[in-house]
């Protein structure tokens, strides 16, 4: 790193420029990651909060099971309850409609399940629990009345930050949800089973004609989540690719400019591993500084934008993309190592540089 440090100091303008580019790409990746995390949370946090080792959906016809189409009848519920190894089965109904509170009217997701699990749920059929988002959007607090599909419900509690398909969650009892779903044109049957335990998942699923998957895997059954996160993930992946290309191109040009110096160093006795270490060390310094600045800016802007945008600031949306940026940048920089390894020290002799 002896020459690398001094090159960094000597050509600080050029390295500051590439560092700034890395920082800006990192900012873009970090911001997109935070936004993706925020949008994902607004899409699926309620599903992930369900008390289950596996979520069971019922596919319609030959198509893959989706939350939108799945309905589960009582015989399927009973089959899962009686399966060996099953500890608990909670039928959960999911529907979407509008609700009218004292302050405003807004679209909400209705979750119907009985109290007694870790998921917040009311104990009376004429009561509802509101998520924090629903409480805010409806302008309702505990004790207020909220009207859904013509029926009035008293707000019993205001719970966590559950969202489903970008709508805040309102929870009813299973009975109240079934009645409400029928009024909304549904079957009144639950949408999904939250199953805990360790049964032979595939066997029971095959026997009952259902699909059982972990809460995380089941998110692909939410079509909005799949398309939304897929688009954002593609953008992030493309930015990772652009980053690797930009860093690779910079260090390739930089190393080619230094090829005469590298030949001289080899002629003087520099080992190829020492020169490779020097080049990669230099790239690491630029990447760590650039990515560090980019992540710092992401955290700052994310904190500022958090109130207005669905933005998640967490190690997964900051440190993980930062690590990927550094690894891919180093892979890009590694392309330039060919110039280092193939440099012929003989060219130093007779060179009139």
């Amino acid at each position: 790193m002896y020459v690398a440090w001094r090159d960094l100091r000597f050509a600080r303008g050029r390295f500051a420029l590439i560092g700034a580019v890395v920082a800006l790409i990192t900012l873009l990746v970090g911001f997109l990651s935070g936004l993706t995390g925020g949008l994902a949370a607004q899409n699926v946090s309620a599903v992930l909060a369900l008390p289950a080792d596996r979520l069971v959906l019922h596919p319609v016809g030959d198509a893959a099971a989706t939350f939108a189409d799945s309905t589960i009848d009582q015989s399927t519920v009973d089959a899962w309850r009686s399966a060996p190894g099953v500890d608990a089965v909670t039928p959960v109904g999911i529907a979407q409609t509008r609700a009218e509170g004292p302050g405003a009217s807004t679209a909400v997701a209705l979750f119907g399940l009985d109290a007694g699990t870790s998921f917040p749920a009311p104990r009376r059929d004429d009561e509802i629990d509101l998520s924090a988002g629903a409480s805010k959007d409806l302008g309702a607090v505990v004790g207020d009345s909220v009207t859904i599909a013509g029926s009035a419900y008293r707000v019993a509690a205001i719970g966590g930050d559950e969202w489903y398909s970008h709508t805040p969650v309102v929870t009813l009892t299973a009975t109240a949800w079934a009645a409400l779903d029928e009024r909304l044109g549904g079957t009144g049957q639950p949408t999904v089973l939250a199953v805990s335990g360790s049964p032979a998942w595939d066997t029971v699923a095959a026997d009952t004609g259902t699909a059982a998957s972990t809460p995380l895997s089941s998110l692909t059954a939410l079509s909005t989540f799949r398309s939304e996160i897929g688009s954002l993930a593609l953008m992030i992946a493309m930015l990772f690719g652009v980053s690797a290309l930009v860093v690779g191109a910079f260090f390739t040009v930089w190393t080619m400019q230094r090829s005469a110096d590298i030949a001289v160093l080899k002629a003087l006795g520099a080992s190829t591993p020492a020169l490779v270490l020097d080049a990669l060390g230099q790239a690491t310094v630029v990447l760590v500084l650039g990515v560090g600045v980019g992540i710092g800016l992401t955290a700052l802007l994310g904190a500022l934008a958090g109130g207005a945008l669905p933005f998640v600031l967490s190690p997964l949306t900051t440190l993980a993309p930062a690590a990927v940026m550094i690894v891919l940048g180093l892979l890009g920089a590694a392309v330039s190592l060919r110039t280092v390894t193939s440099s012929d020290p003989l060219t130093a002799l007779g060179s009139t540089r």
Partner: protein
């Protein structure tokens, strides 16, 4: 010392091969500046490249300080240069980002084994050598802040800072005027004698022949004459 023992070197030229060095035997002894002279294209630089272990001969042996370089692979020859050979190029070939002091210190940062010991030894000699070439008060200047003669002095100091047994010098005055050329040649001669280094110096300019202890004339790849100056 360095011994080129019956070395031959050929280059490909289309379907044929051109003989650049033809069965040359040449010895460089400690404390002696051996000049290699001859017309352009005579094979002087090829001979120097062989002596510097930058290229392997087709036949014959190159013995550097008792080590047969012809039996070493590229990494082995690189290690040999790092430890036992100093090279002064036709142009100073200094690294633009390093100061004069750092140009010498870099010789301890070239990798290989014994890095710590080499670093301590080289660092202890840097200022002494910069003083020896008359650049003690220019140690913190970069190449762009030095004149052509000063740059070549730094290059000479760099070639000697790791105390090589063999010094290989390629046309050191080609980019200098005659006064500065004479200074550089005198400096190489003095340091060779003081440090007991076996120096091989390629030059086509016999104006400075007084700085050479002996000369070998190369014509058409053959060492045709050896004479004491």
């Amino acid at each position: 010392m360095i011994l080129l023992d019956d070395v031959t070197l050929t280059y490909p030229d289309g379907d044929a091969r051109v003989t650049a060095v033809d069965h040359v035997t040449l010895e460089g002894r400690p404390g002696v500046v051996t000049g290699i002279t001859g017309p352009s294209g005579s094979g002087k630089s090829s001979l120097l490249a062989l002596a510097a272990t930058l290229i392997r001969p087709d036949s014959g042996r190159v013995i550097v300080d008792g080590v047969d370089a012809t039996g070493l692979d590229a990494a082995g020859r690189t290690g040999l240069r790092r430890e036992r050979i100093g090279i002064v190029f036709q142009q100073p070939q200094l690294l633009p980002s390093l100061t004069a002091r750092e140009q010498l210190r870099v010789m301890a940062e070239l990798g290989g084994r014994g890095l710590r010991e080499r670093r301590a030894a080289v660092r202890g000699r840097v200022d002494e050598l910069l003083d020896a070439v008359g650049l003690g008060d220019h140690a913190d200047r970069r190449p762009a802040q030095l004149s052509g003669g000063q740059r070549q002095r730094v290059a000479i100091a760099r070639a000697l800072v790791h105390e090589p047994r063999v010094l290989v010098v390629d046309e050191p005055t080609s980019a200098l005027d005659s006064a500065r050329g004479a200074e550089i040649m005198a400096l190489i001669s003095r340091l060779t004698h003081e440090r007991d280094t076996a120096t091989l110096l390629v030059t086509h300019d016999l104006v400075h022949a007084g700085a050479l202890d002996e000369t070998v004339e190369v014509v058409d790849g053959r060492a045709s004459r050896v004479a004491a100056v």
